[in-house]
């Protein structure tokens, strides 16, 4: 039950055209080491799925590997817009499948329940339905009310960075869970990158090995995003990134990042 592989091997589990889900939340516990290796290998044509997308996703978009984005928030928190995301959308270079917290959460829950949709109160009356003609309505057979039927979402691959994992893929996340547990359950292939691999975690598990296909030891694998409490968000690096992009220097930043 030893599921350890190298980062190089793990990235090979992603195939061109896949829907790739990235774990973590905005600037916290993102799988940055995995993203670096993915860009090195150049696996493209990806649909990027993230509850919220941040620095790690902006690098992927800037590197040209993403054709489509599914998220409810793509930005760098107080550091501002995600520069490459905003630029590429404004240019029409990438497609956005508009999502909200509810469409992502209910969509994942639908997959986990084995049904095609879950009904939710939101969206009705917004322009979201206009740009998501694939999203349909459903009538409550009891009240006759119409709800949005949030369609099931199934990632091909989910990559989640964890502070602690075992060889068998038992995973401790410690909080700021976003929808990581749901992604790990819903995805066809699940890759855990972990700060450290232990025999027996002394904290409660968030994901059990049954869900996990591969475990990669990746110390500081979330930096410059945080991995609490091992290391905090590197705010200076976020600023450096934003300033590089503002000055048209994404490519130089990316080259240095890939050498890192």
């Amino acid at each position: 039950m030893d599921k350890r592989i190298t980062l190089t091997e793990a990235v090979q589990l992603v195939r061109p055209g896949d829907t790739l889900a990235l774990g973590g939340m905005t600037l916290y516990r993102r799988p940055v080491a995995f993203v670096r290796e993915l860009i090195r290998q150049g696996t493209g044509d990806l649909t990027l799925l993230a509850f919220t997308a941040g620095y790690e996703s902006d690098l992927l978009v800037g590197a040209g590997l993403v054709k489509r984005v599914r998220t409810c928030y793509f930005g760098l928190e107080i550091f501002g817009l995600a520069p490459m995301f905003s630029q590429r959308v404004e240019r029409g270079d990438i497609e956005v499948v508009e999502e909200t917290e509810a469409s992502l959460a209910f969509g994942l829950r639908a997959t986990l329940a084995g049904v095609g949709f879950m009904p939710g109160q939101g969206w009705f009356g917004t322009d979201l339905l206009r740009v998501r003609p694939d999203v349909k309505l459903v009538t409550d057979p009891y009240s006759g009310s119409q709800y949005v039927a949030f369609p099931a979402i199934k990632p091909d691959v989910a990559v989640i960075h964890a502070p602690v994992a075992t060889r068998a893929g038992d995973v401790v996340l410690r909080g700021n869970l976003a929808v990581d547990c749901q992604l790990a359950m819903a995805a066809d292939r699940v890759i855990i990158t972990a700060e450290r691999i232990v025999e027996q975690p002394d904290e409660p598990l968030d994901i059990i090995g049954v869900a996990v296909d591969a475990v990669v030891e990746a110390p500081r694998g979330a930096a410059p995003t945080s991995c609490w409490p091992d290391y905090p968000l590197d705010g200076a690096e976020m600023l450096r990134y934003v300033e590089a992009c503002t000055g048209g220097g994404f490519d130089a930043y990316l080259n240095a990042f890939l050498d890192g």
Partner: protein, 285 residues
């Protein structure tokens, strides 16, 4: 020395906004912090340290319950939301269960808002070829469908935000949504110019901040403003409130970042992050 509860004369507009937000908080409530909203958190903490000691906090970052608090931070938020958490959930539970059930108080920041309180946080301009692509609406399109106490804040009141027509509606204003369950729309809005309600179904000025005129507010609003017949001047912070904000809640001035943009914001961020890093290294030594 001035009295603690006397009106302050030395305060900034971000401090006044924090105070107005704090005044909206009732003791015992559950309040929620969205992403990148330090002005709101400063307001919550001010309420916590004054009239509302029993509030519970939940945060988009961390997805926890807290009753304890810590000063505002940029790179150390997890020390509070995870380190001092009393309980933990995940974002699917939050969205599918906790938010629709508990209806916690939250202050949302719209990129655009019209007179009915419809909001947009997805794009500025035409959706298919936007002038500006924004991060997205998070959960605003979900929450506005059922929340009857929606609160908004706008750190820089301008015709960029307050528009005749929202380019891409991602939050429901008064009466929008399905016919059998129309949205309530916002009930409260605070900007750097004044406070507003939507009592008549349209955005209505109920108080102007000291030194601001109705004409100035109207000039910066892209649609005709309604004015409350009993229009007030916003009560200024007390000396104690200003002291709490500056010395206890937010010594680094993070709350003011939302008022800044571009190079100004980045300069302030550099300063704050250096001070945070210094403090952290100091602690480690």
């Amino acid at each position: 020395m001035q009295g603690l509860n006397q009106p302050a004369t030395d305060y900034t507009i971000d401090e006044l906004m924090c105070v107005c937000i704090a005044r909206q908080i009732e003791d015992g409530e559950l309040v929620v912090q969205g992403i990148a909203t330090p002005l709101v958190v400063a307001g919550y903490l001010l309420a916590r340290l004054t009239h509302a000691p029993n509030i519970a906090f939940a945060s988009a970052i961390g997805q926890t319950f807290c009753r304890d608090w810590a000063p505002l931070s940029i790179t150390q938020v997890e020390a509070l939301w995870l380190g001092k958490a009393m309980g933990r959930f995940d974002f699917a539970q939050a969205v599918c269960e906790l938010l629709p059930t508990y209806r916690p108080k939250e202050f949302f920041r719209p990129a655009q808002m019209d007179a009915q309180g419809n909001t947009g946080n997805v794009v500025i301009g035409d959706y298919s070829s936007p002038k500006l692509r924004l991060p997205g609406c998070g959960g605003i399109a979900d929450v506005t469908a059922y929340e009857e106490r929606m609160c908004f804040y706008v750190p820089r009141h301008s015709r960029v935000t307050f528009v005749e027509r929202v380019d891409f509606v991602s939050g429901l204003g008064v009466g929008a949504g399905p016919a059998d369950r129309p949205a309530t729309g916002p009930i409260y809005l605070i900007t750097d110019l004044g406070q507003f309600d939507f009592a008549n179904g349209r955005m209505r000025l109920i108080s102007v901040h000291p030194g601001v005129t109705v004409e100035q507010v109207q000039a910066k609003t892209g649609f005709p403003l309604q004015i409350a017949p009993d229009l007030q001047e916003t009560a200024p912070p007390t000396n104690e409130e200003v002291r709490l904000l500056r010395e206890v809640i937010d010594p680094l001035g993070i709350r003011n970042l939302e008022r800044l943009s571009g190079a100004q914001r980045r300069a302030k961020l550099h300063e704050i992050i250096e001070r945070e890093q210094g403090a952290r290294l100091g602690k480690l030594q």
